[in-house]
């Protein structure tokens, strides 16, 4: 018994370097963020203390909460589109041979291999007033004046989905690959139609992948900054944009910290919901 305890202690020592690293790079900044969020910013000077000004402002200024919910809404929209587009791709990857699967995988992750600026500028060339799509539609006589394809929510969602699709496809593919083909074959041999097999066998068994993909995409979307700035023409406002403005243009670290904590809490809630659903699915 004593030996087992010693073994346990020795294995705990393995965690010491990582723990120190986490303390220095994660917990201390997090505590600083918390302390800063209760500080006061007045006449360009920050006073550390216990003030509720920043939280009061967030709750009562009539705009920060609104932008926060807009960010949640945008993130949910991006997550939904990623799921709708990603599921068929993951299904296809499961069905095709290894060579074709590799090509699809490369296609899906390719946006991650490109610089964010290059990617967004490419979208500008495609979706702009004189972009590829508008030029084609006008030359075919389908429209008389350019469609507003960017500098709005559509442009932002399209550009973000393009990148985050891979974060949906990979967990979905992992979940779908782990489903035993014989279950679907058994359902088919008992007379179930393809739609029924999908709804009653494939979809429920792939729920862990759906939840993992949705959680990942939602969390990433809540923090997305540069793409809305470029593709939304600053008309699509997200909470990270307010945080950036508070820090860069107003030097108001306390307010920015409070908003960052709000974002963290929202992400924490999403993770709790996601793991609860996964537990419920397993049970």
């Amino acid at each position: 018994m004593e030996k087992i305890d010693n073994n346990k202690i020795s294995s705990w020592w393995l965690l010491v370097p990582t723990s120190f690293l986490y303390i220095i790079t994660f917990f201390i900044p997090l505590i600083t963020l918390l302390v800063m969020s209760f500080s006061r910013f007045e006449s360009s000077v920050t006073t550390v203390g216990f003030y509720l000004d920043n939280y009061e402002k967030i709750l009562t200024d009539g705009i920060t909460l609104k932008i926060f919910f807009q960010t949640v809404e945008l993130s949910l929209m991006i997550t939904l589109f990623c799921l709708l587009l990603g599921y068929p791709v993951a299904m296809l990857m499961r069905r095709v041979g290894p060579k074709a699967r590799l090509w699809i995988l490369l296609l899906v992750v390719s946006p991650l291999l490109t610089s964010i600026i290059v990617r967004n500028v490419a979208w500008v060339l495609i979706l702009g007033r004189s972009g590829m799509i508008n030029d084609l539609l006008i030359s075919w006589g389908l429209i008389s004046k350019p469609l507003p394809l960017m500098y709005n929510t559509f442009g932002v969602v399209l550009a973000v989905v393009h990148v985050y699709l891979s974060f949906m496809v990979l967990p979905l593919f992992a979940a779908l690959s782990s489903i035993n083909n014989s279950l679907e074959e058994a359902a088919a041999s008992l007379g179930a139609k393809p739609l029924s097999i999908f709804l009653n066998v494939t979809l429920p068994l792939s729920l862990p992948g759906i939840m993992a993909g949705c959680t990942l995409v939602f969390i990433l979307s809540m923090g997305v900054y540069l793409t809305p700035v470029i593709m939304g023409g600053n008309f699509v406002v997200t909470l990270p944009m307010l945080i950036e403005d508070a820090v860069r243009n107003r030097y108001n670290w306390p307010e920015a910290s409070a908003m960052a904590l709000l974002l963290l809490i929202a992400i924490g809630i999403m993770i709790v919901i996601s793991s609860s659903i996964q537990k419920w699915v397993k049970s």
Partner: protein, 360 residues
């Protein structure tokens, strides 16, 4: 098997403890040595901010390169996005004991913030002999004002006729869907709206935003940086936007049919104070650089690039005078004075109003 396992775990435990101790010590001690090494000051080594895009290329070619060669100095550069130094970061660095740059360019509102938080070293005229050739109003307690830039109206000469003389042309229905405003320095936009409709840049109030709401359906974008606006012109997304003169000069050199107008209601002239942050590693070389860059030669290069200079000795060709704007006393009469204390103190409420406006 069990015996072997125990033996293995005993040996491993010692090794693990030693290894963990060493690793922990490394994790704890490395930042100390890093900071010490970082703090070591080499008199022939400077750390400077540089800008992105054309202005950054200009600095490298005309303000940093020749100085390094002449004074046999090594410079490391930190590239900035846009023209605004990250004062929020530098403030934290100064408080921690060492800023990452030896020279800090400050926008006018940043100067007030720096003063309130005691971030800059005082610089006197006697420390910079070249300051004798500068107009008095362009030398501050923290250093010289360099790079005089104007905020006026950039327009496409082929698509906007006749040449605009008023900011109100942005509200003209015939240009709806072809104009943009800047969010990067939103205070300038708000002051511009007030100039157009109230004749004075202040106060920023509900009426200001009512006029912004009127223009809102016709706006293509609220661009964030000068580079974004350049792209809007290049892609033919817009025909007109409030802009800075140097960017227009650059686009004209690229062959775009653009011109810069100074509306009759007034326009703005700004410049940056180049100073030395407190606890800078090499203030002596920073002073040397400031003195050199204020000289006639480097200042003439800036004029050729498209921005104005406070150096009295620099002469302008007619084209240069037209491009830099501030060389023409008649045009300068239209320049409107800005209240940067008000801008800084109201930035929170203006931002709230701005965010509310654009998200409705």
């Amino acid at each position: 098997m069990k015996k072997n396992k125990n033996k293995l775990s005993t040996i491993s435990r010692r090794e693990i403890i030693k290894g963990a101790g060493a690793a922990t010590a490394t994790v704890l001690v490395t930042p100390y040595f890093f900071v010490k090494a970082h703090a070591a000051s080499d008199p022939k080594h400077m750390r400077m901010y540089n800008f992105d895009g054309n202005l950054g290329d200009f600095y490298t070619k005309h303000w940093y390169g020749p100085f390094m060669e002449k004074f046999d100095v090594k410079m490391d550069f930190i590239r900035l996005k846009g023209s605004r130094a990250p004062l929020e970061k530098v403030q934290a660095q100064i408080n921690a004991g060492q800023p990452e740059t030896d020279v800090l360019p400050l926008h006018p509102d940043q100067v007030i913030f720096a003063k309130r938080n005691d971030l800059m070293r005082n610089v006197t005229r006697s420390e910079i002999p070249e300051s004798k050739n500068f107009y008095d109003q362009f030398f501050t307690e923290y250093g010289p004002n360099l790079v005089l830039w104007c905020y006026g109206l950039a327009y496409n000469t082929e698509k906007v006729k006749p040449a605009p003389t008023s900011w109100k042309i942005l509200w003209d229905k015939q240009y709806a869907g072809k104009v943009a405003l800047n969010e990067g320095l939103k205070d300038q936009t708000l002051q511009m709206v007030n100039l157009a409709f109230k004749g004075s840049p202040y106060p920023v109030d509900a009426e200001t935003f009512k006029h912004l709401s009127d223009i809102r359906p016709g706006l293509v974008s609220l661009w964030g940086s000068g580079a974004d606006a350049e792209q809007l012109f290049r892609n033919d997304e817009i025909v007109m936007t409030p802009f800075w003169n140097g960017r227009v000069t650059k686009l004209k050199k690229e062959g775009l049919p653009l011109e810069f107008a100074t509306p009759d209601e007034g326009f703005f002239v700004r410049s940056s104070v180049y100073g030395i942050p407190k606890n800078a590693r090499n203030p002596e070389m920073a002073l040397e650089w400031l003195n050199w860059v204020m000289g006639k030669g480097p200042q003439k290069k800036m004029v050729e690039f498209g921005y104005g200079t406070p150096n009295k000795l620099v002469e302008h060709t007619p084209e240069e005078a037209k491009a830099v704007i501030v060389a023409d006393p008649e045009v300068v009469k239209k320049a409107v004075k800005e209240d940067f204390t008000r801008i800084l103190d109201n930035s929170a409420s203006w931002t709230d109003m701005w965010t509310k406006w654009k998200s409705t």
